[in-house]
C-alpha cells in the first residue's frame, strides 16, 4: 500500500497538494486546536490569561449522579401531600446548593422516577448538554431510515425510462441545492400554528375535523417536525447516490429474473437490494455522520426550544462558544461529538463489513 502511494507518484501528490493543504488547514489543524482549547479555560472575549485546566471541562459536561429525595413529613411523621394527593418532596436545590454535599454543587435535575415513596433524581452537572445529547441521538436514529428509505424510493421512481424523467430528477434534487436557512424559513411558515400550510391541508383533508397544531411550539412535535423537514431536504442527495447504485446493476440480471418469472417484489429483494449493498453502507454512514451535525434548522426554526425539546450538540457548541463566549466549553462538546461520530461510524463499518 505504502509503496504504491510513494513510489514514482510525484505528479499524483502534486495534484493532491492543494486539496490536502486546505483540508489540513481548515479541518485537521482546527481539530487539534479544539482538542487543546478543551483543556483550557479559553474565553472568546476576555482580558484574563488563559489557564490550563486539565479535564475540568469534560467533568463539567459529563458528571452524573443519582440522589434520593425522601418525602417531606409533618411533625407526626406523616407524608405531606398536596391538593392532588401528590407526595411533596424537598427541592433538588436543597441538596445541590447545600454545604453537606459539596460533590453535587451546581448540578441540576435531569429526570426523576419514583421508588416507593422516595423519588430518585438523576442530576447532571450540565443538564442542557444531556438533553442535547439525547435529542441528537434521537434525530440520528429516526432520520437514517426516513431519509435513506425515502431516497431509495425516489431513486426507484426516477430509475425508469419515461419521457421527461429528467424533470423529476431535477425537482427531487432541488431542495439539496437550496440553502438550508432558506428552507428552514419556508418550513417555519409551513409549520405555523395559526394558518400554516400543513394545518390548512390537514384541515381540508379532514373536512375541518382536525384542530390546528402548533408544530414547532409543542415539546412533543417540535423535534419530529424538524426530523421530517431535514429528511426531506437531504433526500435528493442520497437519491442520486442510490440511483448511481441502481444503474450499476447489470440489466442482464433483471432479464434473467423476468425469464424466471420473478414478481416485482422478488426482483427487488433478490436482484436490486443485493446489488445495492455497498451503496447502502455508504448512504447509512453518510447520513449518520451528517445527522450529528444538525444545526441550522434548529437555529432558524426553534432556537433549541420549546423547553429544550430541540437542543442539539452542534447548536449547543455554537451557543456556548459564540453566544456565551465560552470557547473552551464549545470546543469540549465538539471533541466529544467527534469521538461519538468516530466510534459510531466504526461500529457501523464493522457491522456492515463484507463477510466472506
Amino acid at each position: 500500500m505504502s509503496s504504491k502511494l510513494t513510489r514514482s507518484n510525484r505528479a499524483g501528490w502534486l495534484f493532491a497538494l492543494p486539496g490536502f493543504s486546505l483540508l489540513f488547514l481548515f479541518i485537521i489543524v482546527p481539530f487539534f486546536f479544539a482538542f487543546y482549547l478543551s483543556l483550557t479555560n479559553q474565553r472568546l472575549v476576555s482580558p484574563n490569561p488563559t489557564e490550563f485546566v486539565g479535564l475540568e471541562n469534560y467533568s463539567n459536561l459529563l458528571s452524573l449522579a443519582v440522589v434520593t429525595l425522601e418525602p417531606e413529613r409533618d411533625e407526626a411523621g406523616e407524608i405531606v401531600r398536596d391538593e392532588d394527593g401528590e407526595i411533596a418532596y424537598p427541592r433538588v436545590r436543597s441538596i445541590t446548593r447545600s454545604d453537606d454535599y459539596p460533590q453535587y454543587r451546581g448540578m441540576g435535575e435531569w429526570f426523576r422516577w419514583h421508588w416507593g415513596d422516595d423519588a430518585k433524581v438523576v442530576i447532571a452537572s450540565d443538564v442542557l448538554f444531556m438533553k442535547a445529547l439525547v435529542n441528537t441521538l434521537a434525530f440520528a436514529l429516526f432520520i437514517v431510515p426516513l431519509q435513506g428509505g425515502g431516497a431509495l424510493l425516489l431513486a426507484l421512481l426516477i430509475n425508469q425510462k419515461l419521457r421527461g424523467i429528467n424533470a423529476f430528477r431535477t425537482i427531487y434534487f432541488l431542495p439539496v441545492v437550496i440553502s438550508i436557512v432558506v428552507i428552514s424559513l419556508l418550513w417555519r411558515f409551513i409549520y405555523s400554528g395559526n394558518d400554516g400550510l400543513l394545518n390548512n391541508i390537514l384541515e381540508a383533508l379532514t373536512f375541518g375535523a382536525f384542530t390546528p397544531i402548533d408544530w414547532l411550539g409543542r415539546t412533543d412535535t417540535a423535534l419530529g417536525s424538524i426530523i421530517v423537514m431535514s429528511a426531506w431536504q437531504g433526500m435528493g442527495f442520497h437519491m442520486v447516490i442510490w440511483l448511481a447504485g441502481l444503474q450499476s446493476i447489470p440489466g442482464t440480471l433483471y432479464e434473467a429474473a423476468a425469464i424466471e418469472g420473478a414478481s416485482k417484489w422478488q426482483t427487488f429483494r433478490y436482484v436490486t437490494w443485493p446489488g445495492l449493498r455497498n451503496t447502502a453502507v455508504l448512504v447509512l454512514i453518510v447520513i449518520t455522520m451528517q445527522s450529528f451535525a444538525v444545526f441550522a434548522q434548529v437555529d432558524v426554526m426553534t432556537n433549541g426550544g420549546p423547553l429544550d425539546a430541540t437542543q442539539t450538540l452542534v447548536f449547543q457548541t455554537v451557543e456556548r462558544g459564540y453566544g456565551k463566549q465560552d470557547i473552551s466549553g464549545g470546543a469540549t462538546i465538539s471533541v466529544i461529538l467527534f469521538l461519538m461520530v468516530l466510534s459510531i461510524s466504526a461500529v457501523q463499518g464493522y457491522l456492515t463489513r463484507e463477510r466472506r
Binding site: 472568546l44 472575549v45 482580558p47 441540576g108 395559526n194 411550539g217 432556537n303 420549546p306 456565551k324 465560552d326
Partner: protein, 420 residues
C-alpha cells in the same frame, strides 16, 4: 529634455498633493448599518462635513451588516486590526471595555450636556461611548380599542397598575375580537428578550443581576419579586393572552396592524410601519407599573474609541462633531430613532411637540433604565432569554430561575468577577 521636465514637474506636483493630504491624519471607523441606504447617507454627510470642516483629521468609514457586526469586531480585536472609531451596541460596551477593546472617550462634558442619560455609556466611572439616539418601547393600541373596551387611557404620570393592565387584557380577550390580547413579540429572539422583557422583571422589583455588586444574580433573578414576575409571565401564555415563543415573525410584523392583536409591546422603530399601514388612531401607551414603577429598556448604538487608536482626541473631535443637534435630527428623520436631546427632538418631524411619536421621547427620558452595566451582561442576557422562553413554555418558575442564577453565577466566577 522637455518630456523629462514635464515628468519631474508632475512628480513634484503629485508629491505636494500627497503632502497636503497627509497633513490630515486618517481615522478609520466601523459602522453597523450596511444595507440601509438612508442611514449611510446621513452618516456620510456627517463625515464629509467633518472632513471638510477642519484640517487635522479625515474619517473614513466601513459599514458592516448588523447581524455580523459584533463578530467582525471580536475577530478584528483578536487579530489586532481594530479601527479607530467603533460603533458599539450600548449593553455590549462594558464587555468590550473590560476586554480591552476600547479606551475611554476623551469628550468634554459640554458636548453631552442635556443628552438623554441612556445615550451615554459609562463604565468604571469613565465615559466610553456616546450615542446619537435612543430607542424606546411602548404598548401600542388603538384609541378605538380603548374606547370599545371602556379602558382608561394611561399617562406617564398615571400609568396602568398591574390590575388595570390585566383587566385590559382580560377585556380584550373576552371581547372575542382578537386572536390574542397582547403581542409581546416572542418571535424576535435574541437581544429583544432582555431589552423588552427585563423591564417587566424590574418593574416587579427583581433584576437580571444584583446591581449593587454585579458579582451574583442570587437574590435578584430568583428573589420573591422575580418569582412573582415569573408566575405572571407564565400566566400571560397559560391564560391565552399572548402568543407563545413559536409566534410567526410575519404575525409579529403585521398582526397588530391588521387588528388581530389588541395590544402590542413594540419599539418606536416599528411606529412608521404602523402609521403607514393606516392605523391612524394608534396610541403609544407607557409601560404599566407592575409594583415597582413603570420601566422600559434603554441603550442603543453608540460611538466609542478602540484601544488600538493612536489618536483618541481625533476620534473625540469627530464624535463631538456628530453630536450636533442637526445631525441627531437628521438621523431621527431618516430612520425614525429618538434623538438624544430635547432640542434636536424639536427639529424633527415626529418627535417635536405635537409630533406623532413625541411620546417616545418622554418615555425615554421618564421610564427608561439601562440594562445591567457589566461585562457579564452578554452572557446573562442569553441565560435570561432562555429562562423566559422556558417559563413561557410551561417550565417550573422557581426551578428555572434558580438554574438561571446558577448559570450566571458560574459564568461570573469563571471570569473572575468580570473586574467588579
Amino acid at each position: 529634455m522637455k518630456p523629462t521636465k514635464t515628468l519631474l514637474g508632475a512628480l513634484a506636483a503629485s508629491t505636494m498633493l500627497a503632502g497636503a493630504a497627509a497633513a490630515q491624519t486618517e481615522l478609520t471607523m466601523w459602522y453597523h448599518g450596511a444595507g440601509n441606504e438612508v442611514e449611510s447617507r446621513v452618516l456620510n454627510t456627517i463625515i464629509e462635513d467633518f472632513n471638510a470642516g477642519q484640517s487635522d483629521w479625515t474619517v473614513s468609514v466601513e459599514s458592516f451588516p448588523q447581524q455580523s457586526y459584533n463578530d467582525s469586531v471580536v475577530a478584528a480585536a483578536l487579530a489586532g486590526n481594530l479601527p479607530c472609531i467603533l460603533d458599539i451596541d450600548g449593553p455590549v460596551m462594558p464587555n468590550w471595555a473590560w476586554a480591552g477593546y476600547l479606551q475611554p472617550l476623551p469628550i468634554s462634558e459640554e458636548a453631552i450636556d442635556g443628552h438623554l442619560e441612556s445615550t451615554i455609556g459609562r463604565w468604571n466611572g469613565e465615559i466610553y461611548s456616546v450615542g446619537l439616539w435612543d430607542a424606546a418601547v411602548a404598548l401600542y393600541t388603538r384609541q378605538s380599542t380603548l374606547d370599545e373596551l371602556g379602558l382608561r387611557t394611561p399617562t406617564l404620570e398615571e400609568p396602568w397598575s398591574k390590575d388595570e393592565f390585566m383587566a385590559a387584557l382580560e377585556a380584550a380577550k373576552a371581547s372575542g375580537e382578537y386572536d390574542y390580547a397582547l403581542d409581546l413579540g416572542t418571535a424576535w429572539t435574541g437581544e429583544w428578550y432582555p431589552y423588552a422583557y427585563s423591564p417587566f422583571l424590574q418593574s416587579f422589583g427583581g433584576d437580571i443581576v444584583d446591581r449593587s455588586s454585579y458579582t451574583t444574580a442570587e437574590g435578584a433573578l430568583n428573589s420573591d419579586a422575580a418569582l412573582e414576575f415569573g408566575e405572571w409571565w407564565q400566566s400571560l401564555f397559560e391564560e391565552g393572552y399572548a402568543p407563545g415563543t413559536s409566534q410567526d415573525p410575519a404575525d409579529r410584523d403585521n398582526g397588530f396592524n391588521e387588528g388581530r392583536y389588541a395590544f402590542s409591546w413594540n419599539g418606536n422603530w416599528a411606529a412608521a410601519a404602523t402609521l403607514e399601514a393606516g392605523v391612524d388612531d394608534v396610541v403609544f401607551l407607557p409601560a404599566p407599573d407592575l409594583g415597582n414603577g413603570p420601566i422600559i429598556g434603554a441603550g442603543s448604538w453608540q460611538f466609542g474609541v478602540s484601544s488600538e487608536c493612536a489618536h483618541p482626541e481625533g476620534a473625540a473631535a469627530f464624535v463631538e462633531h456628530a453630536l450636533q443637534d442637526e445631525y441627531l435630527a437628521a438621523f431621527s428623520d431618516g430612520i425614525g430613532l429618538i434623538p438624544a436631546t430635547r432640542e434636536a427632538a424639536q427639529m424633527t418631524e415626529n418627535y417635536a411637540d405635537g409630533g406623532k411619536l413625541a411620546v417616545f421621547f418622554d418615555l425615554s427620558s421618564e421610564q427608561s433604565l439601562v440594562r445591567p452595566v457589566t461585562p457579564g451582561y452578554v452572557v446573562a442576557a442569553k441565560v435570561f432569554e432562555k429562562a423566559l422562553a422556558d417559563i413561557a413554555n410551561g417550565a417550573d418558575v422557581a426551578d428555572t430561575l434558580d438554574a438561571a442564577v446558577d448559570e450566571i453565577d458560574r459564568d461570573i466566577e469563571a471570569n473572575q468577577g468580570y473586574g467588579h
